[in-house]
Symmetry: C2
């Protein structure tokens, strides 16, 4: 085996973009595209081509100069780096509004994150079935985590119960948490926590809207550039939302 794994530390910013590249590459693979250039990948991902190359270079030198990257191989490498070569079962805590939506969504399993269990404190919810999984009582959490070898927990409880849910997950042996409750969870440093917070996202948008209104008296109602359906078909993106887990303000893909 000639290709030794590079094992260098990959910058967080890059890690956050790899999933996006992966999705795009998978789509390309389905369309039987065999090779892709950093330029094209950058365009589809709404980022700078240099950034794409640098990001991919952290995986090793898997491109071919003058040609581009072999899609299938790159997909394989990214999947391996992201640890997507096998499934990661997740357990959802909270079978309320959100928990139900998450379980019913189904996209979890398809993408390699099968729902190994859903738990709730409310005995009334225990026993109901969501997305093919039966809701169990939260006291069974440890048992589920142990027996199904779950590493990732999802906190989908009301705000007030989130900290307790997190602590139970940690005690049960989970090492990564995806938190949907709008609170800062207090957990040991060794636990990886990521947060998804609607209110925060909306408030950030609000800031920009407010700023738009204040800064310059308002340049023109639709200060747009290259109206979207405008030019010639839907081809060249006029701009794009970019990658970064969240942020915007990425430069367009140079028509």
């Amino acid at each position: 085996m000639p290709t030794e794994r590079p094992r260098r530390r990959i910058p967080e910013a890059t890690v956050a973009r790899l999933p996006v590249y992966l999705r795009i590459l998978s789509e390309q693979a389905e369309e039987e595209v065999e090779s892709i250039s950093s330029d094209r990948l950058a365009e589809l991902g709404g980022v700078n081509a240099a950034k794409v190359r640098k990001d991919l270079s952290y995986l090793g030198s898997y491109g071919t100069r003058g040609v581009g990257y072999e899609v299938a191989y790159l997909v394989y490498q990214i999947r391996r780096e992201l640890g997507l070569t096998h499934d990661w079962p997740v357990v959802i805590v909270g079978a309320g509004n959100l928990g139900q939506a998450l379980a019913g969504y189904g996209g979890f399993g398809e993408r390699g994150f099968p729902v190994a269990g859903i738990v709730d404190v409310d005995p009334a919810k225990v026993g109901t079935v969501l997305g093919g999984v039966r809701v169990r009582h939260i006291d069974e959490l440890s048992q589920i985590v142990q027996s199904k070898r779950v590493n990732i927990g999802v906190v989908a409880t009301p705000t007030a119960a989130a900290q307790d849910a997190a602590e139970r997950l940690v005690r049960a042996g989970v090492t990564s948490i995806l938190n949907f409750a709008p609170v800062v969870l207090s957990v040991p440093r060794s636990i990886e926590v990521r947060k998804v917070d609607l209110a925060v996202e909306l408030q950030i948008l609000s800031y920009h809207e407010q700023r738009r209104a204040t800064t310059s008296t308002l340049r023109s109602v639709s200060g747009g550039v290259s109206g979207i359906g405008g030019g010639g078909g839907v081809s060249g993106p006029g701009g794009t939302s970019g990658i970064g887990g969240t942020a915007a303000t990425t430069r367009p893909a140079s028509a």
Copy 2:
């Protein structure tokens, strides 16, 4: 009026943290806390105290040396800076699984983002009522946006329909988009887009899990520090998930 608005540009990283400070401060206000130090706020927010002070300094010098910040006043200032002094109606595109959950959630309205409308392409869904709002046909989007003066649109469609939804929103006059579909939306530069993508978040966690397993053969199953329910009650956080829209690896709040 002595306090002229600073009007300096606030760094994106800071903007992303302000909502968190705001939530914490609001909670403190409800508990009748009148004053708070950067240290305490940092602890509750899972960040560095210096960062808190620097962040708040962008709003102006609203603290009192030797004392701290007046909670109520700070809440007011942050709200003003984030543009939360008035409501921002939002329109949701897509009344499927996710759209329903979002509309039914209710938290939107409470937090100043009332749902001004929900639209869908599917005539079968039109007319049904979600969270008190009647689903309307997508062709009525422009009319809703115009009449209710909506600036923020939420894309809650299936992946394949997301780009079209975004374009319709832009044409209708929306200037900010919160996108739940796992695609990079192509919109004019002037439009602010933020993305919430479950799969990406899970894959980032997957990366860290995979890394945990590979890097050091595995240090000890629960490499934990200061087991959470351990020491003396739930008081001192052993570590915390930190703020940043997403990321982790924030230092603990120094017990």
